[in-house]
Amino acid sequence: MKVMPRPALIVILLAALIVLSVISLSAGKIWVPWSAWTSAGHDTRWVIIFELRLPRTILAIATGVALGMSGAALQGYTRNPLADPGVLGISTMASLGAVLTLYLSYFGAMGGATWLLPVGAMAGAIIGVVTLIMLAGAASSMLTFILAGVVLNMVSGAGVALALSLAPSPWAVNEIINWLMGSLADRSMEEVRFALPFIAAGCAFLVVASRALDALTLGETGARSLGIRLETTRFLLAVGVGLATGASVAVTGVIGFVGLVTPHLMRPLVGARPGALLIPSALAGAVVVLVADIAVRLTPSVTEVKLGVAMAALGGPFFLMLLISERRRLA
């Protein structure tokens, strides 16, 4: 594929996002025509757009940006095209953090504070990235990172399962499972207000790391010889991925594969430089999540298919393809 000038690529992605946002606001069980948009409150359909679909659309974009950029940053840092918050267990760690806070609030320990869940998710995600970097150690080869991710996934998955099996009531189980599957349905502006600042902050941390990610193309020794402080890079990565992934998991549950797929789609277009990949990846992540969410809404089924499930269904085969093409490099 031909390398595209980056501004052109970004403009194309932004244009796609705008078109998709309009479709996202209009599409669903009830199709809202343009005429209803300006009727300001008189039309019930106006309520559908601004109370239901606007937060959903904003969250789809924000989650896509967070996961797309986190995936690109993790792949850049690990120099591993198979890295992503889901594969490396960071999303599961965020879920574990969130589930533990659901638990606490169920027992009324924290007075059921709503801010607790996102904080728990972000804390889980940050601990996840830090553990990953520590487990992979100084000789952070492709393999050790993936293995560290497997360990993290297993441990945090077990934690979530334990929380489920010890759940005090079937409703709590139901609530947790529903949330774990990942969805954008029935979100309100409150969730938007909560997630957006953290996702923005997380992405800012990652963008600051872009020069270091570029230099890491030459390996850790190469990057250090170019004056990069890897401790700083690791800090930016842990906080950036932690905030962005944690905040998006907190409001939408686990939506996998976005962080894996989008850097791959963008890499040939930007010429593979990891730092140049961050923003196109973020925008493409938003496009992918938005398209998936629109598709989920338009699928004729009795209950809506969960977005996380739909992404897994699409992402699984993609991951398989990737694995087959990477097999030679890993062997």
Partner: protein, 259 residues
């Protein structure tokens, strides 16, 4: 001009004493070759000199400043380093790769015109201008080595420290690289320190040879003096004859064992 000086370097890796009191001062405008058997501590010494590894005891000074006291970015502006097995993780194009050498100079706005000029210069010095738009993944081993040398030169460093920069090059390109290193030392006043395995190349390419064995300096001086049969026997356990060839001294390796 500033010197690069190591004083009493000790490095211990696990239970092995890799460097045991190495002291040497390097002058700009000279090509120094560090030679020695496998595991002699050559790469560790080079990493210490580049400020990438902190010795357990001992100091490295650039001019009158401690290397460990310099900010990494400042250090990287002065000292270029080429690792022994350079990793290139992503299939970027050659120009982008060489541009990474400008990392210590890049401001918030990305590569400037001056950076682009420096990249062009590095490409032309290493005769890789024609490869500029090729993808790194498609290069041959020798092309890759030259491109990575260009990457190290793109920062126009005052000091170039390269671990086995000639390995994997054919004799023609080895000669080109040796001539280039010499020219950088003579014309630009660069201080160049390389590790080598090829004794002939060391004799021809270097102004000074430092023989390292078991973490200690065995010999240090002009090539013909440093590489005596006695030193070769002590360092490598080989018996060698040093005679004179058409272009200078030649080494004939005879057999294992002391002279």
């Amino acid at each position: 001009m500033t010197t690069l000086a190591a004083a009493a370097l000790h490095v211990r890796l696990g239970t092995k004493n890799v460097l045991q009191g190495v002291s040497a001062t390097f002058a700009p405008g000279e090509v120094t070759a560090i030679i020695g058997p496998n595991g002699a501590g050559k790469s560790t010494l080079l990493a210490c000199l580049a400020g990438l590894r902190r010795p357990d005891t001992g100091t490295v000074k650039l001019g009158d400043q401690m290397l460990s006291g310099l900010a990494p970015r400042t250090r990287a502006q002065h000292i270029g380093f080429l690792p022994q097995i350079p990793e290139v993780a992503w299939a970027v194009d050659v120009r982008t790769l060489v541009g990474l050498g400008r990392t210590p100079f890049i401001g918030a706005r990305g590569l400037s015109a001056a950076d682009a000029t420096a990249v062009d210069e590095a490409l032309s010095l290493t005769a890789t201008t024609d490869l500029a738009h090729r993808n790194v993944a498609t290069l041959s081993g020798g092309e890759r080595t030259r491109v990575l040398l260009a990457r190290a030169l793109a920062g126009a460093p005052q000091w170039l420290l390269a671990d086995e920069p000639l390995a994997g090059l054919d004799p023609g390109h080895q000669l080109d690289a040796a001539v280039l290193l010499r020219r950088l030392a003579r014309q630009n006043g660069c201080g160049i320190i390389i590790t080598l395995h090829d004794l002939h190349m060391a004799l021809r390419a270097a102004d000074r040879i430092l023989v390292l064995a078991g973490g200690r300096i065995l010999a240090d001086g002009a090539p013909a003096q440093a590489l005596s049969p006695a030193v070769l026997a002590a360092a490598y356990g080989i018996r060698a004859h040093i005679g004179s060839g058409v272009g200078g001294p030649v080494i004939e390796i005879l057999e294992r064992g002391p002279p």
